[in-house]
C-alpha cells in the first residue's frame, strides 16, 4: 500500500471526518427540528417572537452546514471506500449488524445533502413532498448515525489519540493524513464561504455559488413565490380590496386600503428568513396586528390566522401564536423602505413578524382571523 493510500484509508482520517460529520449532521438535525416545529407547532411548542433574528440564524446555519457537509461526506466515503470490497464481507455478527446499519447512513446522508442542495435551488426532480420526506429521512439518518457511533466508538476513540511524533517511521503517513484532512476541511470551508453571503449580507459579493443574492429582486431583495406563479395576481383588485377581521371577535371589521392607511402606522426593521437559507432585513411600515385585534375586541392572549388572496398552495394561510400575534413589531405591512410593496412582495398588504420562517410571512393578505 502506498503512503497516500495508507494515510487516506486510515482509521484516523475516517474518525476525524466522522466526528466532523457527526457534529454537522446533529447541527442540521437540531436546526431542522426547530424549523419543522416553527412551521408545524405541536407538543405545545409555540414559536417565540424574540430574538427577532433567531430563525434567520438557525436556518442559515442549517443550510450552510449542509452545504459544508458535502465535501466532508465525499472525503469520508473516499476514506472508507476499500471497505466496500472487504472479504469476507463481515467477520462476526456484531460486524454484520454494524455494516448493515451503514447502508441507511450512507444512502440517507447522500439523499439529505442532494435533496437539500436541490431545494435551496428550487429544483424538484422527484415526485415526493420535499419538506415531509427530508424531515422523515433525517430521523433515519440520525438513527443510523447513533448505531454507527455506538459501533465505532471504541475504535474511533483509539484512532483519535495523539499522532506519532515527527521523525518516527509513521511520520510520512501522518503528514499525508494531515494533507488529506486539510483538503477536505478546506473545501468544506470554501463552499461555505462561497454560499454564506445569501444570508450574511457583508459577504454577499463572495456568494459565487449561492442560489440567491440578498440584494437581487424587486425593491432590492428576493422573492420565493411570485404573484403570477401563486395565482394571486388574478385576485388583486385595489378598488375592491378589503381586509376582513373576523373569527372569535366581539366586532367583525372590514377595511379598504385607504382606511388601513388612515390607521396608526408602525415601522420595524425585520428579516425575511427563508427556509432555503437566504435572508434579508428590510424596513417595514404598516398596521400592528395587535391593534387590529384590539379594535375587534379580541382577548389579548388569543391566537390569530391570516389568509392570502393566493388561491392555492400550502402557504396561502398561516397561524400567529399568541407571542407572534401580540408582538408590537408584528405588522400587516403596506410599505417597505418607504415605498408601497411590489406586487411580488405582497402588494397591497402582507404579514411581517419577528422570528418567523419566510413561508409564514403571508403575502396578499385579505383576512385576519382571531382563534
Amino acid at each position: 500500500m502506498t503512503t497516500e493510500a495508507e494515510a487516506i484509508n486510515s482509521e484516523r482520517v475516517a474518525a476525524r471526518l466522522g466526528l466532523a460529520l457527526g457534529i454537522a449532521f446533529t447541527t442540521c438535525f437540531v436546526t431542522g427540528l426547530y424549523s419543522h416545529f416553527a412551521q408545524h407547532p405541536s407538543f405545545g411548542f409555540e414559536l417565540p417572537s424574540r430574538p427577532v433574528g433567531l430563525y434567520r440564524v438557525t436556518q442559515g446555519i442549517h443550510v450552510i452546514t449542509g452545504v459544508a457537509s458535502i465535501p466532508l461526506l465525499l472525503a469520508k466515503l473516499w476514506s472508507v471506500y476499500p471497505k466496500l470490497f472487504q472479504w469476507p464481507p463481515f467477520e462476526s455478527l456484531t460486524n454484520l449488524v454494524e455494516r448493515l446499519a451503514i447502508f441507511p447512513l450512507i444512502g440517507g446522508s447522500i439523499f439529505m445533502l442532494f435533496t437539500g442542495l436541490a431545494n435551496i435551488n428550487l429544483w424538484y426532480p422527484w415526485k415526493f413532498n420535499f419538506p415531509d420526506t427530508h424531515f422523515r429521512t433525517a430521523w433515519i439518518v440520525m438513527g443510523a448515525l447513533a448505531i454507527h457511533i455506538g459501533a465505532k466508538f471504541s475504535t474511533s476513540r483509539r484512532a483519535l489519540k495523539r499522532e506519532p511524533a515527527s521523525g518516527t517511521t509513521a511520520a510520512p503517513v501522518a503528514l499525508e493524513r494531515r494533507r488529506f484532512l486539510l483538503t477536505a476541511f478546506g473545501a468544506s470551508a470554501l463552499v461555505a464561504l462561497f454560499t454564506v453571503g445569501q444570508t450574511f449580507r457583508p459577504l454577499r459579493r463572495l456568494a459565487l455559488l449561492a442560489p440567491r443574492r440578498p440584494d437581487v429582486g424587486p425593491q432590492g431583495f428576493p422573492v420565493n413565490g411570485t404573484a403570477r406563479d401563486t395565482g394571486a395576481a388574478k385576485f388583486i383588485n385595489v378598488t375592491t380590496y378589503r381586509l376582513e377581521v373576523t373569527g372569535k371577535v366581539a366586532t367583525a371589521l372590514s377595511f379598504s386600503l385607504d382606511e388601513l392607511r388612515a390607521l396608526p402606522q408602525h415601522s420595524a426593521t425585520l428579516p425575511i428568513s427563508c427556509v432555503e437559507g437566504w435572508s434579508t432585513s428590510q424596513h417595514w411600515t404598516g398596521v400592528r396586528v395587535r391593534d387590529l385585534l384590539a379594535m375587534a375586541g379580541v382577548h389579548p392572549h388569543s391566537e390569530a390566522s391570516v389568509l392570502s388572496l393566493q388561491p392555492r398552495g400550502s402557504y396561502r394561510a398561516s397561524i400567529l401564536d399568541r407571542w407572534q400575534a401580540h408582538d408590537p413589531d408584528t405588522l400587516l405591512a403596506l410599505l417597505v423602505n418607504g415605498e408601497p410593496l411590489a406586487l411580488d412582495h405582497g402588494y397591497p398588504l402582507r404579514l411581517i413578524a419577528p422570528n418567523r420562517p419566510g413561508v409564514m410571512q403571508t403575502k396578499w393578505v385579505t383576512q385576519l382571523s382571531a382563534r
Partner: protein, 166 residues
C-alpha cells in the same frame, strides 16, 4: 494468553457494548422516520423515495468513486510527489464546487419558476470558474510554500561544523 489476544477480546467486547447502546438509541429514532414514510405514501411515494435513497448510494459507489479512483491513478501518480497533495486539493475542490453549482449552471431552479428572476440570478458558469481559480491559486501557494521549505531543509552543501558554535 498474550497481551495482543487479550487486547483483541477487550476491543471486541467494547465494540459489542457500543453497538448495543447504538441500537438501543438508534433503532427507535430510525423508526420515527421509517414509520412516517410508510404511513404517508401520499407525500412520500415509496418507489420514488427509494429510487433516490438507494440510487444516490449506488451512483456514488459504482460511478463517482471509481471515477475518483481512476483520476487518482492516472493523474496523481504521474506528477512529482511534492505536487500530489496540492493537485489533489485542486481536483477535489473543483469537483465539489462544480457539484454545488451544478443546479445553477444548468438553471434547473429558474426553469421551474421562469417568472421569478431572483432564483439563480448569477452566471454560475463564470462563478464556478472564479471559485476554481481561487482554489487553484491557494493550491499553487501551498505548493510554492512546500518547495521553499524543502529547499531550506536540504542545503546544497553542509555548513562547516565550527559555525554551529558561533
Amino acid at each position: 494468553m498474550t497481551d495482543t489476544a487479550a487486547g483483541e477480546i477487550k476491543q471486541r467486547r467494547a465494540d459489542r457494548i457500543g453497538l448495543g447502546v447504538g441500537l438501543l438509541v438508534g433503532v427507535p429514532v430510525m423508526l420515527v422516520g421509517v414509520v412516517g414514510i410508510l404511513r404517508h405514501p401520499e407525500s412520500t411515494p415509496i418507489p420514488n423515495f427509494l429510487r433516490y435513497f438507494v440510487g444516490g448510494d449506488i451512483l456514488h459507489d459504482f460511478l463517482v468513486a471509481p471515477i475518483a479512483v481512476a483520476i487518482s491513478f492516472l493523474v496523481l501518480r504521474r506528477v512529482p510527489t511534492v505536487a500530489r497533495a496540492p493537485l489533489r486539493a485542486v481536483l477535489f475542490g473543483s469537483a465539489v464546487v462544480i457539484a454545488v453549482a451544478w443546479p445553477g449552471i444548468r438553471r434547473y431552479g429558474h426553469a421551474q419558476v421562469p417568472d421569478n428572476h431572483t432564483v439563480q440570478p448569477l452566471n454560475y458558469a463564470t462563478s464556478t470558474l472564479t471559485a476554481v481559480a481561487v482554489i487553484a491559486t491557494i493550491a499553487a501557494i501551498w505548493l510554492a510554500a512546500v518547495l521553499v521549505r524543502d529547499r531550506r531543509a536540504t542545503p546544497e552543501s553542509p555548513a562547516p561544523t565550527a559555525d554551529h558554535d558561533t
